[in-house]
Symmetry: C2
């Protein structure tokens, strides 16, 4: 049994070159702390640009992490047996957290730093609700108010995640909502708007910016978010060491990149130091392939074009991915930090289609008992394919994969898969070219 | 970190008198192994009547238990703080299992013993689906077919639990179904029948009894089920000892009694041996109060009157509890073994109403992060009330409670509670008297 890590790992300290800075969309100058102060507390702004290798996890955060951390690293012996593979498969399972995914790893410190600086309320957006429920939980821990804009289509279709946020005490609005100027404007144009993450971000940002007591919180993409998630990889590193194992291959799924970055950065540190040499592989949905079919360029983080410009792998900020069930992977862009690491050639990326992912999810559930969320089924599909390659070659590869959350709120999607109703989408090159044509000129 | 227990504890070895035997409803003679052989494998029939104090957990069962066991024993520090109580509250959390409750503790050995005796298929009934999904998971582990009759009203209202069973590879029928004689008969009379547990049991038993390769599995009530569940209490005993704590009060909820029996029997052993002296308290729903308002008599285990007669605390086999959301506690009877232990005066029982239970569930979730299932909110409500009494008196009581499962599939009920739509039911004495009037004459 390992101890809980006391530090997050900041990969900025070990990269040969720093990533390009975010730019102010008006001036095209690098964004400074003052630009961000209305939205984030100073300590998180400092973490965003810090080059310290290790950042201490505050005792109050550790105290909450202890509710579910260290999370288990499980050898998938039953899956190995079912596949007949000589590979040894380990999965790091984040679904034991209160909201069922890795998201509370960053929600808790974000709530903590805000509370410490006297902030009374956090606002955020959420799509399917994983991030919203995690932030709601974290705010309840520190007595912060939590106000969430949930994309209208999810609000109507996924009432359970919405209820989870309310159980934790959050206020949840369907977005677009009549409580913000941004929402009112959209509703005036289209009272039946199904909403989008872009609109919901605008609403949450508007409310946070207008109040000195409120700040905004983001669940992926930013450096400080990936920093907080490195607790996953730090634990996995210790857990594998305790078992005397060295990974040959590390596989994770990528949407905004926080689960993947959180798992692999500590292993990358060891790799950069020449201690280990695993192949590291990101798996993205074929319907939203920012690494494999996007471009590396400055783009907006949101659809509406309100955020600073971020240098990242992007499909274009107005790219709308097909409605795959892995809602957490339906993001047009990618963490700028992870994008930079990719450009440095430190990991590779592949894509997987929706139905093969659900097939892998069912196979995994029958063997290991846990129903994976649609997002990590991408990593599982790749892991199974790799384990079957090992069966051919006889290689006893050690594979580490990230099971970022359970699928208890996604059984509707499993039902569609089992009923043969789930579809794959083809993404013609023209669609990507079209949205990339609208990239901002930098 | 404790090791996994290697034995289940059989309280029959330590009781001053044995419980009255089940009777054949025709002959009123005690039921023998031959009567049960068409339904259960010999090893489970032997466990049902064994007086061995400890029964070894087979290695193949331990190997699957290890996927989620030992389950955590968590000190509810945040809840204590929120209540301002000097009491120390510990909860034993079974929601980390694949299906999210304590049910796999017995589903796995039941599947194992059946597979070992060459059985190819298990049948069962399920209401809300907790038991069905647990048995489906267990069958997948041993390559057994699993055929489940799910009460029609739940089948229609709770599609997610149904999907969970299908993900694990089970066949799920809405009950009444056209695939059994029992089902056909009901459907002929009423094509729109919402079904009942009684009907679903009849269908599952009919199919098992008709095939030499099939057997039937039950998720609560029977001695061997409570035996398997003692792994909970054995772990909790070791975990508290490791912390240097001795419980003053143990609180659990009761429906059929398997979670409660599983937690408290090992503590009762220590109590009978004079080593500890905790108060032990069962909490039942006010809408289904078999201990506190039922009678101790021979009655049928099912509504249709097909099972052997069981001496137990019962509200009468045709008592239909009001539709509270704690579906797992809506059972007219009680484990005969637990009933006997209650008659021996070894624990006490109280009731709680639905809305105070959900209020406690929300309070717990905001403090501890975990959303409890509606069933364990009964134990939590009692625990909170007791902790507040300690606040008055200043007593530093050590309270142990059972958190038998999470509420991820019950958020509809939480939504109703948060929206003020949840009701309490009053149960007039006449209703109980009426159903008790139909008790079989023994």
């Amino acid at each position: 049994m390992i101890d809980l890590p006391r530090h997050w790992y900041n990969i900025l300290a070990d990269l040969p070159t720093p990533p390009p800075p975010p730019l102010h969309p008006g001036t095209l100058k690098p964004v400074g702390p003052d630009d961000l102060a209305p939205l984030f507390p100073m300590e998180l702004i400092a973490q965003e640009v810090s080059t310290d290798r290790f950042i201490e996890i505050p005792e109050d955060v550790l105290d909450i992490y202890r509710l579910w951390r260290p999370t288990p690293l499980i050898r998938a012996r039953r899956l190995e047996r079912a596949l007949g593979t000589p590979a040894r498969i380990y999965y790091k399972y984040e679904g034991v957290s209160p909201s069922g995914s890795h998201k509370p790893n960053t929600a808790v410190p974000q709530a903590y730093y805000n509370a410490k600086e006297g902030i009374k309320k956090l606002t955020t957006e959420t799509g399917a609700g994983q991030w919203g429920s995690s932030l709601a939980f974290a705010c309840a821990q520190f007595g912060l108010e939590c106000e969430i804009w949930m994309v209208r289509s999810s609000y109507d279709q996924k009432p359970y995640r919405r209820t989870l946020m309310r159980v934790y005490g959050a206020t949840v609005h369907a977005s677009p909502s009549p409580v913000t100027e941004a929402g009112k404007k959209i509703l005036a144009e289209n009272p039946d708007s199904p909403g989008s993450l872009g609109i919901a971000i605008s609403e949450a940002v508007e409310v946070a910016a207008a109040s000195p007591d409120a700040r905004y919180a983001l669940g992926s993409v930013l450096n400080h978010v990936l920093l907080h998630q490195t607790v996953i990889g730090e634990e996995a590193l210790r857990q594998l060491a305790e078992l005397g194992e060295t990974p040959d291959l590390i596989i994770g799924c990528t949407g905004g990149g926080s689960n993947f970055g959180g798992l692999v950065f500590p292993f990358l540190r060891e790799k950069l130091q020449g201690k280990i040499n695993p192949v590291i592989r990101a798996v993205e949905p074929a319907a939203c392939p920012s690494f494999t079919r996007g471009t590396y360029a400055y783009d907006f983080g949101d659809t509406a074009g309100l955020t600073p410009l971020l240098k990242m792998h992007t499909l274009g900020h107005d790219f709308v991915p097909d409605p795959i069930h892995a809602g957490g992977l339906r993001y047009h862009g990618m963490s700028p930090l992870l994008s930079h690491v990719y450009e440095l050639g430190l990991f590779e990326a592949v894509t997987r289609n929706q139905t093969e992912c659900f097939e892998a999810g069912v196979r995994f559930a029958r063997a290991e008992g846990i129903i994976p969320g649609p997002e990590p089924t991408h990593a599982i599909a790749e892991t199974i394919a790799e384990a079957l390659r090992c069966k051919e070659t006889g290689e006893e590869k050690v594979i580490l994969t990230a099971l970022s959350g359970h699928g208890h709120f996604d059984l509707g999607a499993y039902d569609r898969y089992l009923s043969g109703e789930l579809e794959d989408f083809t993404l013609p090159p023209e669609r990507i070219a079209e949205s990339l044509a609208t990239l901002p000129k930098v």
